[in-house]
Assembly symmetry: C2
Homo-oligomer: 343 residues x 2
């Protein structure tokens, strides 16, 4: 197995992206051999069948395991909230971290329901990243620190990792990052977030447009865009996605913000997200657009738009179903069931 | 609570449909009061929020319970298989019932994964219903017997009931029933089922067209259409849907066949399926069309087309998530989290 990336600077991160390992061909082939022997018409479990192969390949295990799913939620604060882009005050980020720690948030309930171990990492909330309408959100050093936090948080003994975030102002950050990566208009990527509308939404859209216009010419690549617009929680998610690839941990990406963070990697190195599934598509309109650009079909579409890894943890249920069907079903031969006739 | 329907004849069943109880307004109101107090932006859990209210109302419990989900799979055989409409021989119905009993099928794995208790009821498999291209599939007495089997199978202590089926030939039955209920062309409702294509699919479509043309003029209502085209497993599903309404048990409908059976009730008495959710939309093309006619948005869309309640049992995960978030989350007041500001 390749070594974990050790990072001194941004170029080390770029090099780590250049050396990403692929899936385990042997485990994937074993899954591909077993699947059509199971007592069901070929293809009748739809995406569950694909997911079994995908899990086996990226875990490097056959049959794929789902005994130890984990969730990581990174929290960060954003200087851009000074522009009045959120319906909630910045203090809510720390309040929600306390709520996660006390077990009272939605993600805690979902983790309980599906047996997912939750870790929450607050990234220097008392020091928000800079307002990107004024200067880059992070220096290379700050961004790298956050990326390293994300790398360090990924544990080896993890069958799937759900990545999510909490950060008042971070859909503004994700919209600017998406605009920088994919172009279009600021309005294409800017949405209500936690719940703004009307003039406040227009102000948020304008903030995204101004910020991207300010930095666009000087941005080198996806990682540099992440540094300019991302919060620390986005950088940590990007780090966790890279580390998980090296540690053979498949990823469930949560909503718009987590996906935008991951998209910065894909923009830098196509294929960087092959070990990631889009757990769901958020009601935040930029998310569907982003998933289209990434060519990722979401597993769930339930109108959720909460973040905090909630959609990713819910999708653990789908992976558990896939893994259990693949491993536990009888074959046609074992069950004495007749196969398909020639018609 | 209203009495269970006791049925001597088809008119008793029609009368039971006329007296269906509504949701419990008090439990639903309690859910509606609690939901906006929970630590999340209003609406950010999307359909999970609606599902909490729906569960509370139809269970008559607040908070809604998800401790005892059950699944019922009814199996039946179809004389119309003589027309060569299926990729599998009729004997597979009984073989798959044995596979369910032995724990080797997909639905067994899904029930294990999500803690759902499974019951399987084989409805006189040795005596298939008549070939509907020749005569009505069932007499009123036969149909009523199957409906009563479905009614008897619904237990009171059930927090949600997943309804599914197994029966070689039954997508042909469901297609004919759908065509009889909603019109259109036979091709609109006929699909590959367990896996036919080309000339065999054309033959299946023609079989549906011929069968419906033969009986259309003499069919009285949705229940009578069910008798003409449905297998016993479809009639049992219809019976279970009615009984569950009286017993305050919300329903997760599985795929095309289960939904077609339920649609016969809705066609007879609009609103008869208000206590039912469409668990998923099947890859069988008629299912999406049927859900559109019923105005039901599916919870999952994973390309599944297996039947045997598999999609319904998977959707139990979504209901568990909804119930746990609703009951377990902290309120803004409890958690000391600031609410939304005025913007």
């Amino acid at each position: 197995m390749p070594q974990d990336p050790t990072l001194q600077n941004f170029d080390d991160l770029r090099q780590a992206l250049g050396r990403l390992p692929g899936p385990d061909a042997e485990a994937e082939a074993a899954a591909r051999t077993r699947e059509p022997q199971l007592t069901k018409p070929p293809g009748s479990l739809g995406r569950l069948e694909e997911l079994s192969l995908w899990l086996a390949g990226w875990q490097g295990n056959h049959p794929p395991r789902m005994g130890t799913p984990r969730a990581l939620v990174f929290a960060g604060n954003h200087g851009v909230t000074a522009q009045g882009v959120s319906a909630y005050p910045s203090g809510v980020t720390a309040q929600m971290v306390a709520n996660f720690d006390a077990g009272g948030a939605a993600v805690n309930q979902l983790c309980r329901t599906f047996g997912v171990e939750l870790s929450v990492e607050a990234l220097t909330l008392e020091r928000p990243v800079a307002d990107f309408t004024v200067e880059p959100a992070m220096s290379e050093e700050e961004c790298l620190d956050a990326v390293v936090s994300g790398i360090a948080a990924v544990r080896e003994n993890t069958d799937v990792l759900c990545l999510g975030e909490m950060g008042i102002g971070n859909t503004t950050s994700a919209a600017a990052l998406s605009l920088a990566l994919y172009g279009g208009n600021a309005a294409d990527w800017t949405g209500p977030g936690a719940g703004i509308a009307g003039p406040a939404l227009a102000r948020k859209t304008e903030t995204v447009a101004v910020g991207v216009a300010r930095h666009r010419e000087t941005i080198d690549d996806g990682l540099d865009a992440l540094r300019h617009f991302g919060g620390r929680e986005l950088a940590a998610i990007a780090g966790a996605v890279v580390a998980a690839r090296y540690r053979r941990v498949p990823i469930l990406l949560d909503g718009f913000v987590a996906t935008a963070a991951a998209a910065a990697l894909e923009a830098t190195r196509p294929g960087a997200l092959d070990h990631c599934q889009a757990a769901h598509v958020s009601a935040e309109p930029g998310h569907r657009r982003l998933l289209d650009r990434l060519d990722k079909a979401p597993l769930l579409d339930l109108g959720m738009r909460l973040g905090e890894a909630s959609g990713a943890v819910l999708a653990v249920a789908v992976l558990r179903a896939a893994a259990q069907c693949h491993a536990g079903m009888a074959t046609f031969e074992e069950a004495g069931v007749s196969g398909k006739s020639d018609c």
